[in-house]
Amino acid sequence: MIKIEKLKKIYKDVTVLDIPQLTIPKSECFGLVGNNGAGKTTFFRIILDMVRATEGQVLIDDEDVSKTEQWKSKVGAYLDEHMLLPYLTPDEYFDALKKIYSLSNQDLEVHLDKFKELFNDEILGKKKYIRDLSKGNSKKVGIAAAMLGHPEAVLLDEPFENLDPSSQIRLKKLILEEKATNMVTFLISSHDLNHVTEICDRIVLLEKGLAIKDLQEKTTMSSELNAYFNVF
């Protein structure tokens, strides 16, 4: 699904990201962990062609992301609140997206229905602009927007941050369901080791832009990560 080749990002003379080779197959749940400033968000931004790579390329289904834009209809993402339109209400925002993705009303309804539990009656049908929502609630809007339009891959940056515990559990359930029924590939960065180890099939550990660990064994994942982050 997503293929990284000799990817490098250099700001002035500091290399902030250096990934020689990485392939993420379809319907994998790919976790990305690392300390602050390890390059997680930059990596996601380069995949989404929001930031230019200094060297190398990102291929989504063999399409170079910096050359074409076809891939945008199969990838959904929520990295930060800048991806929302803060002056709209959530309903209006989904409506605008509906037009951009050219979906029917029914498509949208079916989609939003999946999020009913996560939204907890606090998002839809309220006369409140996104800019007035709490951080957690605007994150929920962003996540629902990222999964709109039947994407084949979804990128989420710190999806569990700012969510209340029950929302975190609901989100995990939603991700697993989506992966099982629609074969969606997930790329998730998180600081919450418990959550990522629970839902991800594979976890890559970034340190100063380098992928120093690629953990694929579910049983040892947690102990290896704990050893690295020193939480005992």
Partner: protein, 495 residues
């Protein structure tokens, strides 16, 4: 797609917390724009008559053609100051399946819908109908007007590219300004007539359609130059590497004498140096220091005794341009860190007072730098002194008081393309009502008593304002304190 963009843009404006302010500015601008356009149309209608009356050349059209290049050079200058860059929140749309090229075409085309686009039509259209159509036939008139418009529109696209590419780089515009001076100077002294040099292009358009075809190709080319540049840079990254010089900015030791307010002033000074937009305002100060040259050297304003009325305007501009420009956005500069000042003990008071301090300091620097104008006569010095005092005592309070009405949040850290709101027409037109006030005081006294009495009145009022500074600045401080919840919540919402 375009419909969606337009709808979203409308909603964004309607729901902005500073909607009332933007609306008021918009109405004012529209009114003024119509007025200016109407005057230009009148001038266009009178153009033919004026040329025959004052210059009575053999052929009015050829005469005008030889001066057209100066109009276009001037157009470059005014477009640089007036033309606004398209502002677009690219980050909201980059991840969506919307073609980047679509967004950019939308942006570029929407920038074209502007009074500036029809300005040459109003100015030269009547001439084409009244003179060229009569003498050369209506086809020639159409082709001629077409080439004039196409040249102007080419400048539009080149300017869009230019302003974004150099981000209002002062040096480049200075080079153009010098070229303009050099060109007109050399024509005046008869070394090289650049007007005559370009004249054949437009005269050729009277006989053949070749120039219009060539110019339309040039315009299309310039559009795509602009398009290619915007398309290539449609990323979240900063357009250019931040230059280093701003980082090691100096502290002014003298500011620390003013306590917390002085501290805030020195923080603000760092803010100005470290952001491109605020730095532009500083360079504009330098630009307007030269502004006097236009007026003081002009024999039209030289009077045997007394002072030309226009000098007051020049004086207010030269010594107060920073207050007028930077002060308009008073709190907007701090919108992303406004909570920091609220949280500090006496922070808001110090912020406001610190800004006053900084404005006064920069105004003083401008006044001192303008001293060499004394070369043009002692009256220039007195005008500058009186207007400088008036700026410090009165104008500063007026600007700040107006600026505190529904301040608009502004994110200085957005460095990427499309977020760069450079200097545009709104910043200049807002100044006009404030410029009226010194004339309200000066003109009656200068007519009834004498010009110097008028200056004295301005200076005394300014001094009075300076003496009452604690009281007057308290009004602004109180206003900020009273509205702090409203201001901070609007800043928090819209960033």
């Amino acid at each position: 797609m375009i419909k969606t963009f337009i709808q979203l843009e409308l909603l964004k404006r309607l729901r902005s917390t500073s909607f009332a302010r933007s609306l008021a500015i918009g109405i004012f601008l529209a009114f003024l724009g119509l007025l200016v356009l109407a005057y230009l149309l009148l001038m266009g209608l009178a153009l033919n008559y004026l040329i025959s009356e004052f210059f009575s050349p053999a052929d009015n059209t050829v005469f005008l053609n030889s001066y057209l290049v100066f109009f276009f050079l001037f157009e470059i200058i005014y477009r640089y100051f007036i033309q606004q860059l398209p502002v677009f929140s690219l980050e909201h749309f980059l991840h969506l399946p919307v073609a980047k090229s679509g967004i950019i075409h939308y942006l570029l085309v929407s920038s074209f819908i502007s009074p500036l686009t029809i300005l040459p039509l109003l100015l030269f259209g009547p001439f084409a109908i009244m003179e060229i159509a009569e003498v050369y036939g209506s086809v020639s008139a159409g082709v001629w007007l077409g080439s004039v418009l196409l040249t102007s529109w080419t400048i539009h696209w080149v300017m869009l590219w230019f302003k974004q590419r150099f981000e209002d780089s002062f040096v480049v515009i200075l080079v153009i300004f010098c070229l303009l001076l050099l060109g007109s100077g050399s024509t005046y002294l008869g070394w090289l007539d650049i007007g005559a040099f370009f004249e054949p292009i437009f005269t050729f358009a009277l006989e053949s359609a070749v120039p219009v075809v060539l110019l339309s190709m040039v315009m299309v080319l310039s559009y795509f130059l602009c398009f290619a540049f915007y398309r290539q840079n449609a990323y979240l990254e900063k357009l250019s590497e931040e230059d280093q010089f701003a980082l090691n900015s100096t502290n002014f030791g003298i500011l620390s004498k003013f306590g917390l307010a002085g501290e805030m002033a020195s923080l603000e000074w760092k803010l100005i140096l470290r952001h491109k937009k605020s730095r532009t305002y500083l360079t504009i100060c330098l630009f307007f220091l030269l502004y006097g040259l236009i007026f003081y050297t002009n024999p039209m304003y030289q009077t045997v005794d007394g002072i030309a009325n226009i000098y007051i305007f020049v004086g207010i501009f030269v010594t107060g341009i920073f207050i007028l420009q930077y002060g308009q956005l008073f709190l907007s500069w701090n919108s992303s860190m406004f909570d920091f000042f609220i949280f500090q003990r006496k922070g808001l008071e110090a912020l406001v007072k610190g800004k006053y301090l900084l404005f006064m300091g920069i105004s003083l620097a401008c006044f001192l730098l303008s001293l060499p104008y004394v070369f043009f006569g002692w009256e220039v010095l007195w005008v500058h002194l009186a207007t400088f005092l008036f700026n410090l005592g009165i104008t500063i309070h007026l600007v700040i008081y107006f600026a505190l009405w529904k301040p608009k949040p502004m994110d200085l850290n957005k460095g990427a393309i499309f977020n760069y709101e450079g200097v545009g027409i709104a910043q200049f037109l807002m100044i006009i009502p404030i410029l009226g006030i010194p004339y309200l005081i000066y003109l009656p006294i200068s007519i009834l008593v004498s010009d110097y009495a008028g200056l004295l009145a301005l200076a005394l009022l300014g001094l009075g304002g300076l003496i009452a500074f604690p009281k007057l600045s308290d009004i602004s401080v109180k206003k900020v304190l009273r509205n702090r919840y409203e201001i901070s919540s609007s800043f928090r919402q819209e960033l």
